[in-house]
């Protein structure tokens, strides 16, 4: 190859990088605009809705909250209390103790006066067998609660057990350590009951970070900004993702993921597609993709809905080790799901699902860390070869950085105009400052975790969930 050919190849690589970065930024801007419009529309639609009627109606559809628990002994009693304090009239709670090695079950038995009951399970979905059995409370105050003790099979398996046991039309799949706002269920059920021109198959909720918030008796009392920079940065990241991203995908009916921490599903469809996949670490994304695929293949009109209200609060990782482990798992989950359903990619048979949502996830979620890493390595090579054209490099770095800061501030702006959760004086400044710092304190670790996730996916197939040690809300209580 002569020098001119090499130069042309290098030039093409430069243009490809440029085109990728430009289209990513453009897509973020477009999604943010759509999100803004959709959020405003949502707020208008809900400004005169009376949720109280649904709250007290005995005709309202039944919902089962399914919460898998594994070694949650520290907080399980408090967390269940929170789940039992929802204001919806027609709901039940199934705690699936997924082979915990600690004393979670004993604590639940003692706290809720549980006794073993005869129960026959309609095994529509294959799961690990029961261990100690099914428990219900002798105390009528806890009649909504059922505890199922089974052999360990992972989160997806525990959720499938819940799906088998539930007798409700709708199921809310939730992490047991999540705190639900009292009217969460009626807000989440609304799209299922309201939409008449399509079948709503699932509704996703926003996840907010509860670290440092004041929680008493399973209720959120006060919202605080955590001191830990990593947790704080995740708050900003969640605001961006949920307020400026998912709302737009909801509008486009292109949501591919509903957070595993809180989502409501049409149980029949969830079972018809085979329930949660136990062979993936990204079961929350995978089931949505599979449900959508099923509906598309059946030619049925459907919708995956999304509720932007802050209904579910959870504990975020507060150290880099656990954070990286979590993001590593998310990356592997995305790769597994996209690979499993690759038939959808660019397939006009699947409409906008195949031509828009899937390609977006593939190009801007799946490939982003790879492109970024290749870009960094390429840049390093150029630095070593003293081939960097610094006037270009500097201008583009500054541009990318400022865009990232601006985008974060827009998400803060959107939060203030809509849900205004961080009310305390001085919090605004801290969040703006964080917007400037976040590209340094969070993004490099997200990239590292994503790269590790890719490596683990291809070279360490045995890696499963990874560790997530909880401190629990009780320790946050003021």
């Amino acid at each position: 190859m002569d020098t001119s050919t090499v130069k042309i190849i290098i030039q093409i690589i430069h243009y490809l990088f440029f085109a990728y970065a430009f289209s990513a930024i453009l897509s973020y801007i477009i999604l943010a605009i759509i999100s803004g419009k959709e959020t405003m529309e949502y707020l208008k639609r809900n400004s005169f809705v009376n949720y109280k009627d649904i709250l007290s109606s005995t005709m309202s559809p039944s919902i089962t909250i399914i919460a898998p628990a594994y070694n949650e002994s520290l907080n399980v009693v408090e967390n269940v209390r929170s789940l039992l304090s929802n204001h919806y009239v027609n709901y039940s709670v199934i705690i699936v103790n997924d082979g915990s090695k600690d004393d979670s079950l004993e604590k639940l038995i003692e706290a809720y006066d549980l006794e073993k009951v005869d129960y026959i399970i309609n095994e529509k979905l294959k799961t690990k067998p029961l261990r100690s059995g099914v428990f219900k409370s002798k105390n009528p105050a806890f009649e909504k609660l059922m505890v199922v003790d089974k052999e360990n099979g992972g989160k997806a398996d525990a959720l499938n057990m819940g799906l088998n046991i539930s007798t409700s039309k709708y199921v809310a799949c939730i992490d047991v350590d999540c705190l639900l706002i009292e009217n969460a269920l009626q807000k989440m059920i609304k799209p299922f009951l309201e939409v008449t021109d399509a079948k709503v198959i699932a509704t996703g909720g926003v996840i907010r970070i509860a670290n440092s918030c004041v929680i008493r008796g399973g209720k959120l009392i006060d919202v605080n900004l955590p001191k830990n920079l990593l947790v704080r940065s995740q708050i900003l990241e969640y605001l961006r993702a949920f307020l400026l991203g998912r709302m737009a995908w909801s509008r486009l009916n292109g949501l591919l993921v509903i957070s595993g921490a809180f989502g409501v599903f049409d149980k029949k469809i969830a079972i018809d597609v085979g329930g949660y996949d136990t062979n993936t670490v990204g079961e929350d994304m995978e089931i949505i993709v599979r449900m959508r695929r099923y509906m598309e293949e059946q030619g049925r009109k459907y919708k995956v809905s999304y509720i932007p209200d802050p209904l579910c609060w959870t504990e975020a990782p507060d150290n880099y080790k656990i954070f990286i482990s979590q993001r590593n798992r998310w990356t592997r989950g995305t790769i597994e799901t996209l690979r499993k359903h690759r038939k959808i990619a660019f397939n006009p048979k699947y409409g906008s699902f195949g031509l828009l949502s899937y390609p977006y996830w593939l190009i801007f979620e799946r490939l982003a860390p790879i492109v970024e890493t290749v870009g960094i390595l390429y840049f390093a090579v150029l630095v070593i070869l003293k081939e960097v054209r610094w006037e270009y490099a500097l201008s583009f770095l500054v541009l990318a950085y400022l865009f990232s800061v601006l985008f974060s501030i827009v998400s803060l702006y959107s939060e203030e105009l809509t849900f205004h959760q961080y009310k305390k004086k001085g919090t605004g400044y801290k969040l703006v400052l964080l917007s400037a710092l976040e590209p340094f304190v969070l993004h490099p670790f997200i990239l590292y975790a994503a790269v590790r996730g890719n490596i683990d996916y291809y070279f360490n197939k045995n890696k499963k969930w990874g560790e997530m040690k909880r401190k629990g809300f009780t320790s946050n209580t003021a």
Binding site: F48, D53, I54, E194, Y413
Partner: protein, 368 residues
Amino acid sequence: MIDYQYLIDYFEEFPFLIQLAWRISGLFLVAIFLLTIYLKVIRYHLRKKENEYKVFKNQYEALLVEYLYADEESEEAHTKQKAIISKIKSHIPIKYKRKMVLSVLYNLLNEVSGEMAESIKTLYYETGLIDYALTKLENKNWYVIAKGIGELRRFKIEESYGDIINFIEHSKKEVRNETQLYLVNLFRFDGLTFLNELKTPLSEWTQLQLLEVLQKFDDQQICDIKPWLKSKNDSVVLFALKLAQIYNQFEMKDILIELLSHDKKEIRICVIEVLTHLYGIEAKEMLKANFNELSIEEQISFFGLLEKLVVPSDEPFIEKHIFHKNFEIQLLALKILKTINLDKFMGLNKLSSNKKAPVMFKFVNNIS
């Protein structure tokens, strides 16, 4: 002095792309600065508004309570009431104050009834708040119209019926929902006549709201639901079925039986459930005869009906389904058999070759 010309010349020597990148960066920087300031302003205003809201709310609450509890016979009280009205009148042209007055009035309306509620309504008229609500009905934005209808519903303004009924088939479901709630809240069962002609779908969300409103009334004398059970609008039929169940419409059994052959599966299933509730024994033989033609969901519902309405002569039919491949049907069949013939049930336990059956027999056997 800095030589700006040198900097400008230096910048202009850059290729177009770099110049563009720096220019956009400059724009971003300005936007960041402006948005940061704006964010501060918004946060300040939101906090201020929140504090003001608390102050005004207390103020209005005190005023309105004074108005409501004033002795109407006394001249002094009457003058006071007039003063309160004119004070509120002077505040309500400001939108957020009007909103606050309305919110206080809503809260009061939820807590009082009878004469007090009538006094609030009078106040609503005299302060001119009603005019603002009526103006909303002429607005081009759907959400303003919906808010206006909702407000007139809460204050039970019957005179707006003529204006509001025009929105019954509005293109926005929120406006339709508010219109329907208005009609039922104010005119009770008579308000449901809109169902006769309704072409747009009545969502389940709206249906639940309407049922909740209806159940709050003392007079539970329901109107004729026959035309709605025969409606071409499936959502109206489903709503009528709910009414039939809640209000025990035994006299509708014949139409319900006719509905068992409705095109929509969802309706057929719902009909079986209503018939179960209404002891629709007449439907049993018909469903039994067509059992194999029914969908699995209908078959399950039918077994639900049998569980309630079974008689000994149903035994052969039940027996035929105790090894049904569907879990729910098998379970229900065994439960029913145990109820009508315990000896036969006990005997079957030994004969079973079905893998799952022994567990299910044991389970049903243990049920008291």
